[in-house]
Structure formats: C-alpha cells, structure tokens
Symmetry: C2
Subunit: 434 residues, 2 copies
Amino acid sequence: MKRPSEERGSAERSSANVRPVSFEIEKKLPDSLARAGVLKTPHGDIQTPAFIAVATKATTKGLGSFMYPQMGVQAVIANAYHLYLMPGEKIVEHAGGVGKFMSWDGPTMTDSGGFQVFSLGEGFGKKVSKVLITEEPREPAIAVWDDDIATSHGKLAVVDDEGVTFTSHANGSLHRFTPERSMEIQHALGADIIFAFDECTSPAADHVYQKEAMERTHSWAKRSLEAHRRIEYENLKASLPFEVPQGRRRGIYGIVQGGRFEDLRLESARTLAEMDFDGYGIGGSFSKEDILGILEKVNRELPEEKPRHLLGIGEPEDLFIGVAAGIDTFDCVLPTRNGRNGTVYTFSGKTSIELAEFSEDLRPIDPDCDCFVCKQYSRSYIRHLFKSGEMLAGVLASAHNMRFLTRLTENIRQSILDGNFEEYRNEFLARYQK
Amino acid sequence: MKRPSEERGSAERSSANVRPVSFEIEKKLPDSLARAGVLKTPHGDIQTPAFIAVATKATTKGLGSFMYPQMGVQAVIANAYHLYLMPGEKIVEHAGGVGKFMSWDGPTMTDSGGFQVFSLGEGFGKKVSKVLITEEPREPAIAVWDDDIATSHGKLAVVDDEGVTFTSHANGSLHRFTPERSMEIQHALGADIIFAFDECTSPAADHVYQKEAMERTHSWAKRSLEAHRRIEYENLKASLPFEVPQGRRRGIYGIVQGGRFEDLRLESARTLAEMDFDGYGIGGSFSKEDILGILEKVNRELPEEKPRHLLGIGEPEDLFIGVAAGIDTFDCVLPTRNGRNGTVYTFSGKTSIELAEFSEDLRPIDPDCDCFVCKQYSRSYIRHLFKSGEMLAGVLASAHNMRFLTRLTENIRQSILDGNFEEYRNEFLARYQK
C-alpha cells in the first residue's frame, strides 16, 4: 500500500474518469418492496441491502479502517457537522477527501449535519421553539437573537429560512450553515454520496411547525441540489482542459422529512421525488417509531429506480422492516455503542458479555459468526477484558457487532436473490430475542 | 485459525514433545557484552536482542494479539499478580494458558508479581518499612499486623520470611503470595518462561534493609526453583504413561535484586548464578538509574550462556545501554503508555503528535517506519483522532510505538551480526533526540 505522502495531491476533483453514482436493481420481490441491487460509486460498488459503517469523525468508534476488510464493511458514512468543526473541511480536502484521510479506499458518504446541528446544539426542542420564521431571507439569526437565547451560549441552534446559526457542541463557538455552505463543506470532504441540508425538528413539534419545517427543508433540498450541481460543474471545468457536459460525479441524496405525521411524510416524499436526486435519505427522526410504521408508504412515493438510505436506524429487527419497505442502505451507531458497553449481538439475540456465566466459556461470542473476533477470541477472554477495563474489550466487541450487521445484510441480500426473504426473516426473528 | 472452543482441553502439560527453553548465542562482540542469539521456547524462537510486548492483563493496552504479526512482536510478558486477581489463574488455565487465552501462538512469559504486590499494594516505601522480620517462618503476617496498618485497608503489603500478605489494588481483598504459591499460579497461567518470586524494595530502603530483602529474595529464588521443578515433574508424571527423566519444559528465570547498591547487586548476581535457572531477570528497580550504570558488572557475574531479561526498562536509549551490557530481552510499558498519551517515537526522537504543526501534515508518523500505521495513516489524521478523543488514536499510536521498538531491536540485532553495533548505536543516538 502506498504511503499517504505519496498520494498527496491526487484530489478527487482532478479525475475526469470517475464513475458517476448509479443504482441497478438486480432482483425485486413480488410481495414486498424488498430488492437487491448494486449501488455504484466512484470508489466502488455497494451490494445492497447493505449496512454502512458510521464513521462520524472519520473513524468508526474503536475500529480502524485497517480492520474493515475483516468485517465485511462495504462503505462508511461520515458527518459534515463534526468534520467541519474538527479538523475542518479544508484539512480533509487537503488530504484528498474523507476516504483518503481515514485510509479507506471504498465508497464514502457524508451526512449533511442537519441532524447534528439541531441535536448537539441542544437548542432542539426548547430554544428552537423560539424559532424565527420570516417570509423573506433575513440577516443571519445572530442579529435578531434576544438576550435570553444569546446568553445560553454553547447550547443552541436558531433556524431562519436561509439557514441555521448554531454554537459548536465542543467549544461554544458560533457557526452558520446554509444549504449552499453545507454543499461546499461536503464537496471539500469529498465523499461519493452527500446529503442535502435539512432541518431536523423536535419529536414534540406540532403539525403546524412540522409542516413549516418540512417546507423549509424542501426549499433547502432544491438549493442543495442546485449548489451541488454548480460546484460539480465548476470543479469539472476547472480541472479539465476541455469542455465537459454537465455530468454527475458524486451523488446527492435528498432527505425525506415530516416527523411523525404521515401526511407530511408522504408530501415530503412526493415533493422530493420530483427533484433529480441520485437517491433519498429517510431521516430526521429522533425515534424510530416515527418512521418505521409508514416507511413503506413513503418509499412508494419515491422513484423506484433510485436508492434509499434509512438514516440512523439499523438494529437487526429494523433491518428486516426496512428492507421489506424498500430500503437499500442503513447506518446506525448501535453496533459500536453497544460494543463499547459490552453488549454483543448473536443470532439468538443480544447479551451482555460481562455476565458471570461467560467467565469460563471458551466458545466465541457467536458460534455461527465468521468474524475475526469469533475466530480467535473466547467469551471468557472478552469478558475478562471488560472486567479489567481494557481498551481491547470495546474494540473486539465493536468489531464483532459490526460484522454481525454486515453479515446479516449479506444474508438478507442473498435471501432476496434466492427468493426466500420472508422465510429467512421468519427464521431469523424466531431465534433472535431482542 | 481454529476457533477457541475447538482447542479446548489441549493443555500445555499434556504435551510430551514440547521443547525445553534454551538459549543459543549466535554472535558475541569483542568490545562489549553485546550478543545476538536465539531464545528457544515451547512456543517458538525469539531472535535476540528482542523487545517483549507487555501484556499485563493478557492484552497489550490498546492492542490485540491479532495485530502482533503486523508489529513484529515476537513474545509477550503477562503478569501473575494481575491475572491471579482477575480473572483468576484457574480461568486462564482452563483456557489452555495465557497464550491460548489471549489468542497468541508465540512465546509467553509471566512476571512473578513481586513488583506489583509491593508497588500496587502501596504499602511500599511506607508501610513496608514496618516490615516484620523474623528468624523463623511465622504465622501469616495478618496475625501480627498492628491496628495502624490493618486500618489502612486496601493499600498495603506486609512481608515476612515466608511470603507477602497484601490487599488487592482493585477491591481491597486480602491475599498471600509465597514462592510456592507464585509457582503454582504461574504454572497454571502456563507461560513458557516464568520468574522466581522476589521482594521489591523501596528505592529509599537503606543498605541494611536492602541486604535483608536481598537475602530473603535469594531464599525465595531457591524455593521458587524447587517448587517449579517439583510441579514440572509432577505434571509430567501425571500426564505421561511412562517414566520420564526430570526434564525442563518451561523455563524459570531468577531475579537479581539489590536495589541501588552495587555490592548487593553483584552479590545477588553471584548467588543466583549458582542456582540452575534457565535465565535471569534483572529488576526490582523503580528507577532505571538504580541499575543501568552497574548493569555490565552485574551481567559479568551471571553465566554467559544463559539469557538475561531487563525488567521494565526499554526506552530506545536504554536498549543500547542494555544490549552493550549483555541484556538479551527487554520489556517496557512506555510504548503503549506514550502512545495513549499521543507521544510517538521516530528515528529523530519522540514527539507529541498533537502539535499544531502536524494538522495538515500528510506524512506518516515516521517516514522511515515500516509499520502498518505508517503505511496507511498520516500525522494529520492521527492528530485529528487525538483531538477528537477517538479510541483509535491510542490504538494507532501504540501500534506504531510498539513496532518502533521491535524494529529498533531488530536493527540492533542485525548490527551485532554484522559486527557494527557501535556504529549503529552512534548513528542512532546522533539522530535521536530524547
């Protein structure tokens, strides 16, 4: 493998022959929206359905990209909000984009950061209820903050129709995101698939506010798409010695919003479906109950030929619901968060590896698992590492959990190709204790 | 690789054909005690001089055994005190010994735990000055503790001529080690090379106390050796259907003590040299200034044909001093402790990877390094991981540091074989800023 320094300067944008993002459906099932496909990106293909590894700050927590090949990771999703704040998008761009920065050659995505602006700003649900809604774009919100808000320094996000002004969760410094700025940042981060900038509402928001926020999100989606196309075109023009047609390179996904209201979710899907996104994210929820029940209806409004990503949801039982409802890719922090806490996935359910019953148990975490952790390490050993407070504990449990979910999606994909998804789902869920 | 459960029950002691520990010197230098050799153990050879990875609780901090092959690790040293307290030596024995427990097929050592009994008991230097010295073995020390000591629960170690009574650093529970008990524990842990049980004195101890402690250590060394031979013999008899000669299998090292007093160190070396150990550890120091200056004199008292291990010392500059003084193997927690703190080794010296100057630096930590970290990751990325508080930061820096030290000892070994150790030392030290 080349040393990073040798690859310096080989920025994405200078490559004229990168492949555009596209999606091919290989097989559809007759009795549900489940499908198997291939999502093609400039950095390789993703066999879908797929579980995408979360790499918020350009690393999956506890896991290095050097372990990905052993865990069946096909692609990662990083976060524009976090990488903008630290180390800054310019540093990631200088490294050749988020993939090169973290030494991952495969496909990459970045979430736009809308969710994090609101959830980590923690104004969410409280301060944002004092939202400033205007007919016309106005001065940056800082100019109109009242004292009450301004003094709650470090913990707020204020939205206007132009964008969001927020303070960093890390140090309280003041920042502003607009759809255009989010696209600039995401292009600098250089992922293969980027997401439109959206407003994430509180689960407590009423229908009136949720509708306003959704409409703002649609306006932002249009602006995100336009900004994306403009940046792509300018980059191509700047880097190529000949005229190029306005072509796609990296892909952009729109994000369906609407909170817990079915009418809004469907309206959001219909509105975004008319825009020429390369795929769709479904998110903005802080509770999966908001969306899982109406997911199939939402997906029926989206163009069938475009890929769909379910943001932030990916427990084993959710994968089956999502796939049946037409989702192609998932991401979720739970495999690594659970791993760090000693909770491990097995085909018979989740369990704490710290239970006394595992103290002398020489079996691997899951006898059915093919991961490198289960090939080498026993329950007894991993329990000991947790009891001893060793870093390796979280590393091994997270690695196993990640492989569990990538393997589960591989199995699901195979069951679709084989035409027995329903049977596989029933078989899995009969055994798996939540 | 086999799953752990498949290897269940293949305990070390049942193997009649394990190789005994032995040492072969390949090359000696004329102008110093430096030598290159091969230390042969039941689980493979160690090319010396070698840096042994510390795996106190059956893991190198932040690093899994699955990474060892990529870091040039030849052998590990675990700790009997820690593994006795957690998970307990019986659990490790049940797993097939510390190597199998941690999924490491190569050579293993265990330190006897004397150092930890005293340093983690923290009675060391204070409570132990109230040491109870008797002519005859007496009742366990608990019986004669005075109230002052007994009420300082959780923080003491009390020595008598029979052994040491101490409280666990983890939970204050009461325990007792004797040379015989330490041998039982270490045999259960099943390492290839074990260490005699010794008393570690305070650096502040005066000559009178130090001499007493040394003599006690010599008595314990003799008892350790006898207990080791008896256990080996009983194990062999029990597991073999025929009479066997009293043969060595795993090796036992005696530990040279004597604190900072040259006359005691030399007396200790001479005394232990007369006992039939398979090798010698030089340790018991809490400060390397105690030992480095008189190391060559100590080693000249030890049998030339036996391997020598310098316990707990292994900074780059120390390796050259140690090797020139006749040391064959080293161990030290600093590569991983420094790594977790963001201090990395390079051939031009140690540096903090968190310095602002590295924020956009796309070079690897050390351009001369062949480790997997330097092959893949940039200073900019690793700095970002530290600044972001990501677990992977410590993992990558520790892995690089470990490889730095294993590679340095490989280079030193090669320079001895090539007859240019002095030149290599001068060249390295001229470049390396401490």
